[in-house]
Amino acid sequence: MAEELVELTIDGVPVAVPKGTLIVEAAKRAGVDIPVFCYHPKLTPVGACRICLVQIEPTPRLQAACTTPVAPGMVIHTQNELARAGRESVLEFMLANHPLDCPICDKGGECPLQNITFAWGLGTSRFREEKRHLAKRYPLSERIVLDRERCIMCLRCTRFQEEIAGDSSLVVLERADHSEIGVAEGREFDSIFSGNTIELCPVGALTSRQYRFQARPWDLDLTASVCGGCAMGCNVTLSVRDSELLRVSSRDNPDVDNGWLCDYGRFGQVGATRENRVTTPMMRRGNALVPVTWAEALTEAATRLTAIRTAYGADAIGGIASPTMPNEALFLFNRLMRDVVGTGNLDHYPRPPAPARDDLGFRGAIADLDTVEMILVVGVDAIAEVPVLHLRLRKAAERGANLVLVHANPTGLTQEATTWIQPAMRGEATILRALAAAVQGGKRPAIETVIPVDLAPVVAQWKAAEKRMLLVDPALLADPSVADAVAALLPAAGGPVVSTANGRGAIDLGIFPAGGADATAAPYMLDGSAGVRGLIVLGGDPPVDHAETLIVFAHHLTAAARQADIVLPIAVATEEAGTLTNFAGRVQRLRRGPALPGSVEPAWYAVKELAGALGQPIPVTAPEQVWEAIQQNVPAYADVTDAELDGVTPPRMQTIEQEVAD
């Protein structure tokens, strides 16, 4: 299907673009720079700021390039006297009331208003009057502060909350020249996507309370990495100054996050590098944990593990890894337990109750949500578990995809869903079985318990849809009959949404008890019933009830670390180099942003060191080497390319156009 092209000329450059393209987008194709404030490719155009005024022949009046679609034969001028004068006037008006205190503004250095004034402004102003005075440092929430004097009413923030987040949690109050950004009286800007508005704001009006006044943008070192908060795997930019992580911002990847980030990923990860850290190895002396050197801690750990193995055999030792650890750490942990210690007592915690079956892996990609006709979401509360997936599902519903939600409680998606089936307790399983039976056998859905739900329409829609996706809570798959049902439905795209940051990686790398033995699953190692005397915990904070010797690789002083006999300090996600696998099976690269605090080591390195202390060194010196070994050993990862690992957008300052080359 050939797209209908429209030919036009911009500043003398001929360009052909699809019908319906806005002039501002056509100009990019022609290599012509039209400045914008209110325009954003992912938001509905409003033409609020007028900075994009251009002249379209023969009309003598200027028109907004961001709201005018192209027409055949258009001749557009962005650089003639009329357009230049118009742009200068718009800027002069904008700056009439905007404080010119860029040196003390947090946005200075990465501010579109500053940059566009520099590029296109007149340099002087005819306004001699007193500027308007409005609220400054107005706290909208614990995370965001508003300076109303700096606001130019571009409405990017309110449009984001209305159109993308769908919660209208930030709005315009009052009208005309009294308009201001705000929230309902007595309320907060209470969206978990609120931080995106800081990046969208083209001036210093919305700023991060966590980051503001911590650095000047030109002093920041930017690193491209991936968020370690949940299984979405949003691409991020880490901003580091003097070796310290100061902020996390988005790094658009249309296949994953579409340029958005949730507040957990944005603000939580910065706090995670600072608060409650373990920065030195520690050993228990009496009731207290006292700092020791790595050599002392590793020697003691090896001595105690060897003693247990000699006295009770290797199966008296067990290992539990957190599914937030990078693949490299998990892979070496597997080697440590299976090859060095010599036991199959290995698991990750928390994890979905049943190990994955080959026919239950995730098929297709997150971006398929943009094209499928029908989406069936069973037991997944996206906004709570993988927030940015919620935005993708909302977008699909907005575009008209048939979104069927099966969830016992109202979720963030209830309002967007075409159909919400609210089963009674544990009814998700029943409905999945019934659906699969109906889809397979062509029978009427046989629902074995009393649920006042007529599944026939959903079954009919599922059968009729050409492209469909199933997103299912992995916990439901513990029941073999449900697993069979899901497998039967999975010629469609989709699969289980494992929500922990690298839960999918832990499954892919086989961090499970030997032979899938239930008796030595993590819960039984933790409560002592698996007969484990020496327990090695890698990251996370599993509830340890019983262990004679407890060795914890800890990033924070968790409850598990407090109980430990030996604590080995490891990095958090933003300090790690390695890879994470998102729920859809996409492997992406983590890069270290800040310096490692104290004597913290990357998890893969710490695990390798313990293997060495046990007398069997693992000969790797860099995480890239471990990744190569993973590619050789895990068939699913053999073909992962560098392009997939790195994403598509280089690290960047905040607010500069969130765009990806076409």
């Binding site: 709005v171 929230v183 009286e185 209470d190």
Partner: protein
């Protein structure tokens, strides 16, 4: 650390303490009945706000929040509309609301002097209500569409045109409690 997860979609309907409601059961029922009236529920917000203002005399924040909960829409969006439309009041107002036009025609015919005289006669500034709560003086609403009778003002729904300073003083006397 990681910020507390906010509740993305507050659902108050069907729960909560009825004593905390600022709207009567009748008004609440009328607002709920508006839900099916429009293709999009957002369209019912203005009707609902009008019902709330009819009952209370203005739209306090609590009433906005209640309208939002009853219609299942964002409380911020409801507050946005309540502040956008000049015929909704988010603060208490007097029984008589005096609104003076100061758009171009009225301004040319001396509405500034009319406003000054009103302030003097009422003993309050624009935006204030007399201490007895009877009269609120508002500037400056947008054009009253009475340019032919400039300078014009409006008391509640009644227009007063071709106002002079003398006429204004007489009007204030008329508006005082007991006179109306």
């Amino acid at each position: 650390m990681i910020p507390n997860p906010p509740t993305p979609f507050p659902t108050r309907e069907g729960g909560g303490n009825t004593e905390a409601y600022v709207l009567s059961d009748t008004t609440r029922a009328a607002i709920v009945a508006l839900k099916g009236k429009y293709p999009k529920v957002q369209s019912a917000i203005l009707d609902a706000l009008r019902l709330a203002q009819d009952e209370i005399g203005y739209v306090p924040a609590e009433a906005s929040a209640e309208v939002a909960a009853l219609l299942g829409v964002s409380p911020h969006h409801v507050h946005s509309l309540a502040t956008f439309y000049t015929m909704f009041f988010t603060q208490p107002v007097g029984t008589a609301i005096v609104e003076v036009c100061d758009n171009l025609s009225c301004a040319l015919w001396g509405s500034r002097r009319i406003i000054a005289r009103l302030e003097e006669a009422l003993g309050i500034a624009v935006g204030e209500t007399t201490p007895d709560g009877s009269i609120t003086l508002l500037r400056t609403i947008e054009c009253l569409a009475a340019c032919g009778g400039a300078p014009a003002l409006r008391v509640n729904t009644t227009y007063y045109e071709k106002m002079t300073e003398e006429k204004v003083v007489a009007l204030v006397k008329e508006l005082r409690p007991g006179k109306r």
